[in-house]
């Protein structure tokens, strides 16, 4: 295929069109007679003139420079890049879901409200919580919502000195950022050598100023926090609440529920665990579930049922308020519910079986070539390698990742979690076959050999991607953030 390197603006040619409006069938008064001159823009718009064919070819060519889950293996740690089922797209595209207005009378959207209600109930069952809000737009937005709930809970009790949120040093970056956005200070606690919450550090951080603890379980190292019961108890005993970051929920479906582990607030990432597409960065969806004591603080509106009728409930006594416009990313909710129906109770359980099996199998295949900090541990859905084995200071994790591009893989998450040197965080998910895992392992092993034999080739990788290694420093030093041509 030919190399394509145009911007849409460079295809513009005066007189071309990609649209045709119907002839106006009402009186066509000049706009100057309808809107006062002082508000009107007299200049031509600075937009493109292209044909429909130009647009389709342009974006099709751009798509060829992209890598998705449908292209190949995408073992991005903590991102759960599982296959996105096609039926999900068909269901969210149904006229009765796609083309309904959010302000329509409730009697004309009973199907949509029922879907939301049933999804709410399914997520409650999966998480062990009592009620969900489907409003949050993404995982980070779920965190913000959950922290707003924790804040409202303490404020309602008149306990205003609780201004601190504890976050382990292995946490996702969104956790401390969300805490600060929610108006809290953060206390970072150290992990044990193994990578689990250090109970002594936690104890030292606890006080009557602590509003809560945010925890991912299994954590970002792919390890299950075995002391979770003790951890939750310690936080509860000092008056705090415990927040579950559900980014890693793919490991525990039908096995153990955050609600049973002692968590008070939970968010799920529907775009991870529940198979909705990541869309090149979004839109996601981050529903939040709570225990009974927090229901009265949920954002408005929630979806409720009264007899056979479903309705939006705006009457929540101590609601934190509204977290976003309307009711959440409904189009994403439809996809996630489609997935839950498809997999069912048996299938969801199987998802975690195989997600965990795949991760451990891959770890076992790689541990002789890359540093696996805890060789005898059972990982959950992901594991973290600490770079290449041996003294190869000239070849970094970044080089390994870039070389993987040449082999046709999306690399794992790199340099995260921060507590692991040269981290390579691998999450294969359940939708990959043993053959795919083996081929990927073979590629990584080959790269380990290349690192010894031909380190320069690795440092210059990738060699056969649409563009070579890009200059990030130049982009940041001399920001060009729009086309100026």
């Amino acid at each position: 295929m030919r190399k394509y390197n145009e911007l849409i603006f460079e295809l513009s040619k005066a007189g071309r069109k990609a649209y045709k409006l119907p002839e106006a069938d009402v009186e066509t008064l000049p706009v100057e007679e309808l809107i006062p001159d002082k508000y009107l823009n007299k200049d031509e718009l600075d937009l493109t003139e292209v044909s429909e064919v130009d647009i389709v070819r342009h974006y099709t060519n751009l798509s060829n420079k992209n890598f998705g889950v449908d292209t190949g293996f995408y073992p991005l740690g903590s991102c759960t890049m599982k296959y996105n089922p096609k039926i999900n797209e068909n269901m969210t595209g149904l006229d009765g879901f796609k083309n309904i207005h959010p302000h329509q009378p409730e009697e004309t959207v009973q199907g949509a409200l029922r879907l939301m209600y049933e999804l709410d109930q399914a997520l409650c069952e999966i998480s062990g919580m009592d009620k969900m809000t489907l409003q949050p737009a993404a995982g980070a937005h779920g965190e913000l919502t959950g922290l707003a709930l924790i804040k409202a809970y303490h404020e309602h009790r008149g306990d205003t000195k609780r201004t601190k949120i504890i976050v382990p040093d292995s946490a996702h970056g969104t956790n401390p950022a969300s805490a600060v956005m929610a108006g809290f200070d953060t206390i970072e606690i150290k992990s044990t050598e193994e990578g689990l919450v250090d109970i002594e550090s936690l104890k030292a951080a606890l006080s009557d100023e602590v509003a809560g603890l945010m925890l991912t379980n299994p954590n970002t190292l792919g390890l299950f926090e075995r002391e979770i019961v003790e951890i939750a108890k310690l936080v509860h005993d000092c008056g705090g609440l415990v927040y579950y970051d559900g980014a890693n929920a793919n490991a525990i479906l039908g096995k153990v529920r955050p609600g049973d582990m002692g968590f008070d607030v939970v968010h799920f990432n529907l775009h991870k665990t529940f198979s909705t597409p990541h869309g090149g960065g979004g839109p996601g969806s981050g529903p939040v579930g709570v225990k009974k004591k927090l229901i009265d603080f949920l954002p408005t509106p929630t979806v409720e049922k009264d007899g056979d009728r479903y309705y939006l409930n705006y009457n929540i006594p101590h609601s934190v308020g509204r977290m976003k416009d309307f009711y959440g990313h409904f189009g994403v909710l439809v996809r996630a519910y489609t997935y839950i129906l498809t997999m069912g109770r048996d299938g969801l359980n199987k998802v975690s079986d195989i997600a965990v099996l795949n991760a451990n199998y891959l770890a076992s295949r790689l541990k002789d070539y890359y540093n696996l900090p805890e060789e005898d541990t059972i990982y959950k859905h992901e594991f973290v390698l600490a770079g290449l084995k041996g003294e190869l200071s000239e070849v970094t994790t970044l080089d390994v990742a870039k070389r993987l591009l040449d082999y046709g893989y999306h690399p794992p998450t790199v340099y995260f979690p921060l507590i692991v040197r040269e981290a390579i965080m691998v999450e294969p998910t359940e939708t990959e076959s043993r053959e795919t895992l083996d081929e990927f392992a073979d590629a990584l092993i080959k790269i380990a050999e290349e690192a010894k034999e031909n380190p320069d080739m690795l440092r210059e990788a990738p060699h056969n991607t649409p563009v070579r290694r890009v200059n990030e420093t130049q982009a940041a030093r001399n920001p060009i953030l729009k086309y100026e041509g």
Partner: protein, 448 residues
Amino acid sequence: MYPYIPNTKEDEKRMLEAIGLDSIEDLFKDIPESVRLNRELNLKPSMSEMEVARYLTDLAGKNASVNELTCFLGAGAYDHYVPSIIGHIISRSEFLTSYTPYQAEISQGTLQYIFEYQTLICKLTGMDVANASLYDGGTAIAEAAFMAVNQTRRDQVVISKTVNPQAREVLKTYAHLQGIEIIEIEDEGGVTDLEELKKNVTDKTAAVIVQNPNFFGIIEDLEAIEEIAHSQKKTMFITSVDPISLGILKSPGSIGADIVVGEGQPLGISLQFGGPYLGFMATKKAYMRKLPGRIVGQTVDEDGNRAFVLTLQAREQHIRREKATSNICSNQGINTLAATIYLTALGKEGLRELAVQITQKSHYAFNEITKSGKYKPLFDKPFFKEFAVTSDIDPAVINQRLLEEKILGGYPLGKDYPRYKNGILYAVTEKRTKEEIDKLSSVLEGII
């Protein structure tokens, strides 16, 4: 077996052997016994694709779509026509099933369309830089307010009550978290009360926020508001705009806005019962490093070829953690592609033609509905796309009657604006025909 789980029993066995375990259960033995579920989830068993499709098609059938009902509802979400090319391009799985473009070398497709999107948002709003989008119009206002608070180190934000009530609710929720004070300015005849605004803009004001066209569809006097906002040194002027209106209205940038945000749903994104939509945000170059969210920049690759990459990441949570400008981690990804295609397809003349036609159609509807005098204009001000009328009849009664005629009536204003108890806000997009508008007005006539 499940269609999305390729490993067979035989694979499982061989993999367990390789790991040195006897059973799948052994993989979960680190979960304390006391908290294990030890029962099946109380959900339905797995279903075939046919059964799932039947069940959900049935649920979808319980909704009446805007293809069955003629939609005159707006108030923040609009029944615009979505060109066919959008669905086809955004469904390409190379775009749809990719993650945030961290690995630039195999994400040039995503990175380039975001760069094009940023360019288009800048051109439309008249601003210098745009981010890669936020969740929606409401949260974009809240993020803009936070940005102004950080920039000015003041903690008071003034917002007009003619801004979408839902967005104001979101702002209040966010503001409460950081102890930011929100001062709301009443409307005077459907527009921001400028005298009230003047009184409330002080040296404590971080930002003045208005919407244009405002929630009632009325075009605000942005130039006068800008002057009041900037009468205080440092105070930032934030406007939320309908992107389609910029086909004919002056750009906020040309009027001196510091931050421009808005709901991008009108740009080729389906109604979908309220989301996912698209929050856009643009600002002046001086505030570039205070922007929340992803930003794509142009650079070169090792061979000197043009390439694109996520940039200015020192603002972001995955680098700066608690010191980030925002916690946001996603953008609206595939919806920014929809908006990019939409703006490209309409282009230089199309967007203008579209805005003109909407103006003509909404004015025709306004004249038809109000001409007999049974329905009175609620306000007497220039408007775009939406207008409010009032009568002696309860809007619920009117909308019920319209629904019987398969018309989705306007948005009742009473619950957000008690003093406009019987007010109804109608939206008229390019999709509405003369015939549909005439039917609306004749059914309305028949009610009184």
